[in-house]
Amino acid sequence: MDLTLIWAAIIALGILLYVVLDGFDLGIGIIYPFFPKEHERDLMMGALAPIWDGNETWLVLGGAALFGVFPVVYSAVLSALYLPLIFMVACLILRGVSLELRSKSRRTKNLWNLAFIGGSAGATFFQGISLGAYLQGIPVRNGSFVGDAFGWLTPFSMLTGLGLVATYALLGCCWLITKTEGDLQRRLHRIVWPLTLVLLVFMVVVSVWTPLQQQDVAARWFDSGWFYRMLPAPFLVAICAVLMRRAARVRRDTQPFALALVLVVLGYAGLLATVWPYAIPSSVTLWQAAAPHSTLVFTLTGAAVILPIILAYTAFGYWVFRGKVRHDELGYH
């Protein structure tokens, strides 16, 4: 059994879970400016309140798992992306605290609203920038980062930053549709299609730009069997888009979110296909980056037992808070 591969798969799944869960979470903050009424904002925050801590814990697990299992990736990539990651966590702090304090404040309520919007959008943007910089490759020698301090700041990373903002906005909007009803839900349905369109544009541009700027990616995409295996993906994306348009028009409850999920998974699969088989694109492969065998065994033993339990009670938590959020259930009681 190739433990490195198993771990890579677990981490890839963990990141996907994070992107979906904290994605809709942050996305609610991104579309927040379109809903200025305080009582609607109470509902939007109410949909988040019981679950956001858990969603963000996946980010902590991601960091810890990289630290333990792929220490080279953790140390080299994180020091290369020093500033964007610092800005990301600073934004996450602002937004996390605004979630708790908005309901407790009176005069400063608007400031916390702003912190929630800025924190959510900012955290997403810097996450997207980090993703773009990572995809472009990080210069590493002897396991240490040797590039420029501002190497992450490129037109491509700006693009992926905005692309991720669009992705999370769509996820957040679709999630809110499942949690709301009436007029608020109707207006949410109305912005689903524009958001989908924006996301599609970003997906196309990134898919065209990536092979153009990186020779080895282009070689992998077009030479081997990859091309034919990935060929269905654009068609699936197109089908999703058509279905999404219909679902928004006939105002379905959960279908938009399901479709948004499929879109995210397709995009994510494309990214994985681009990165494979590297742990740090174009410099370190997964096997070069892995921790010693004993650590892989030690951590995998625990993960195999505990992760399913975590997934089970996370699902239970979502099940407890299923259905629409209502005003009489907001607050801590």
Partner: protein, 428 residues
């Protein structure tokens, strides 16, 4: 001479972010367990003030926990961003342990927190109680990991004493309702249980440190020469790193050996046995340790006096004692930070004792990068945690079970009453 390099800045940044972070988990560990006890009492006795207290401290808990989560994300990423040398080297061990902590503790806490805070109407009382207990267990597991990763633990009483101070404040203000009385007496009772446990853990930690990090112990004690036939304890003094001596020392013969080796004339190695570049800064840790230990003693004193007063039935009337409890409010956190400083400064110049120096652990970053990030952190933390603490203090001032005095409100009006949220009234 006085140039600030990237390493210094990285160290300042790490110390700054850690000090902010650990206060909140410390708060939530004690708080979650206290809430679990309150809820258990409520289920057992059916007395509403237990539930009111439960609700009140839950609000407090939510804020503290949220701050712990977000400042914890910083910690999870700071090792890689700023301390790449350390991460690459220690990842297979430290990273693996951190991962276990996340999987066993953080997820458990975060997973059931939602039900604990918002699930009152969604699940039955016993299921709710289970969720609360699981959150409390999660905090305890994380406490174990904190302990495993090498710090003096001052955590549980740190919180208990805040609860005690809250009770004392309202007693001084003249409130005598059951909620306030319960808050105060339960806090003092808990302190009576926790403080001796703390003393025991601290003692064990001392024995362990003497064995594995002898230079740290020598620095803490301000001990320069290895003395034969029993080492004295320096009660006070000012260790001078240059002159290799502790000035104005007030000594008690044999006490040092007695505490650290549990024998009358056990040997403790002095600082001179270590190369000057391998010595931690004794001036700092000597005092940070004494602040921690002194406050620990005062907390035990508070608990014992409180117990005596309660035994004589004067716990709710002795004003001087309430003032004492109020003043001791921040003691838990001060001693927590002092303990942390002792541990971390005492470990210098090593990041992994005897194996890797701090200067080898830092990432290849420029001074500008770290200055920028440090400024970001200082600004964000001061604004965010400043207001967070402000709201927590405001909550303390309002006190528990104020809901009894309020008429029920609807959600629309809730903006007016911010601290005494109206929602609890719906449950009565």
């Amino acid at each position: 001479m006085f140039s600030v390099d990237a390493l210094t800045l990285a160290r300042i940044q790490f110390a700054f972010t850690v000090c902010f972070h650990i206060v909140f988990p410390a708060l939530s560990i004690g708080l979650a367990n206290f809430i679990a006890v309150l809820e258990w009492r409520w289920l057992k006795t059916g007395k509403t003030y237990y539930k009111d207290l439960c609700m009140y401290w839950s609000k407090f808990f939510a804020v503290a926990f949220g701050m712990g989560v977000v400042s914890g994300i910083v910690m999870a990423y700071e090792f890689g961003t700023a301390w790449a040398g350390f991460s690459k080297f220690a990842g297979p061990i430290t990273g693996a342990l951190l991962m276990y902590e996340v999987m066993t503790a953080f997820f458990l806490e975060a997973g059931f927190l939602g039900i604990m805070l918002f699930g009152w109407k969604r699940v039955r009382p016993h299921a709710h109680f289970t969720a609360t207990v699981l959150v409390a267990i999660g905090t305890l597991i994380s406490a174990t990991w904190i302990l495993a990763s090498n710090s003096w633990m001052q955590t549980p009483q740190g919180y208990t004493i805040v609860v005690g101070a809250t009770g004392a404040w309202h007693l001084l203000k003249g409130r005598r309702d059951p909620a306030v009385k319960k808050t105060f007496s339960m806090a003092i009772g808990l302190l009576l249980v926790l403080a001796p446990i703390q003393a025991f853990v601290g003692d064990q930690h001392g024995l362990n440190t003497r064995e594995y990090q002898p230079a740290k112990i020598a620095a803490i004690e301000g001990l320069w020469d290895t003395e034969k036939g029993g080492t004295a304890l320096n009660l006070f003094g000012i260790p001078d790193m240059k002159a290799e001596t502790t000035r104005y020392a007030v000594k008690i013969p044999h006490l040092g050996s007695l505490i650290l080796t549990h024998s009358w004339d056990g040997e403790i190695r002095g600082l001179k046995e270590f190369q000057p570049e391998d010595r931690p800064n004794s001036t700092i840790v000597f005092w940070s340790f004494r602040v921690m230990a002194g406050l620990g003693m005062l907390m035990i004193l508070l608990a014992v006096v409180g117990w005596a007063l309660r035994w004589r039935g004067r716990l709710y009337e002795a004003k001087w004692f309430h003032r004492f409890a109020l003043v001791m409010g921040p003691a838990g956190f001060i001693s927590l930070l002092a303990g942390w400083i002792t541990t971390e400064v005492g470990r210098q110049p090593w990041v992994v004792y005897g194996v890797m120096r701090t200067s080898q652990a830092v990432s290849p970053l420029t001074t500008q990068q770290i200055s920028l990030s440090l400024m970001t952190f200082v600004t964000v933390y001061l604004v965010v945690f400043g207001t967070g603490v402000y709201y927590l203090l405001k909550m303390i001032r309002t006190g528990p079970s104020i809901v009894h005095d309020d008429a029920p409100e609807t959600g629309e009006q809730s903006a007016r009453h911010t601290v005494s949220q109206p929602f609890a009234t719906a449950n009565r």
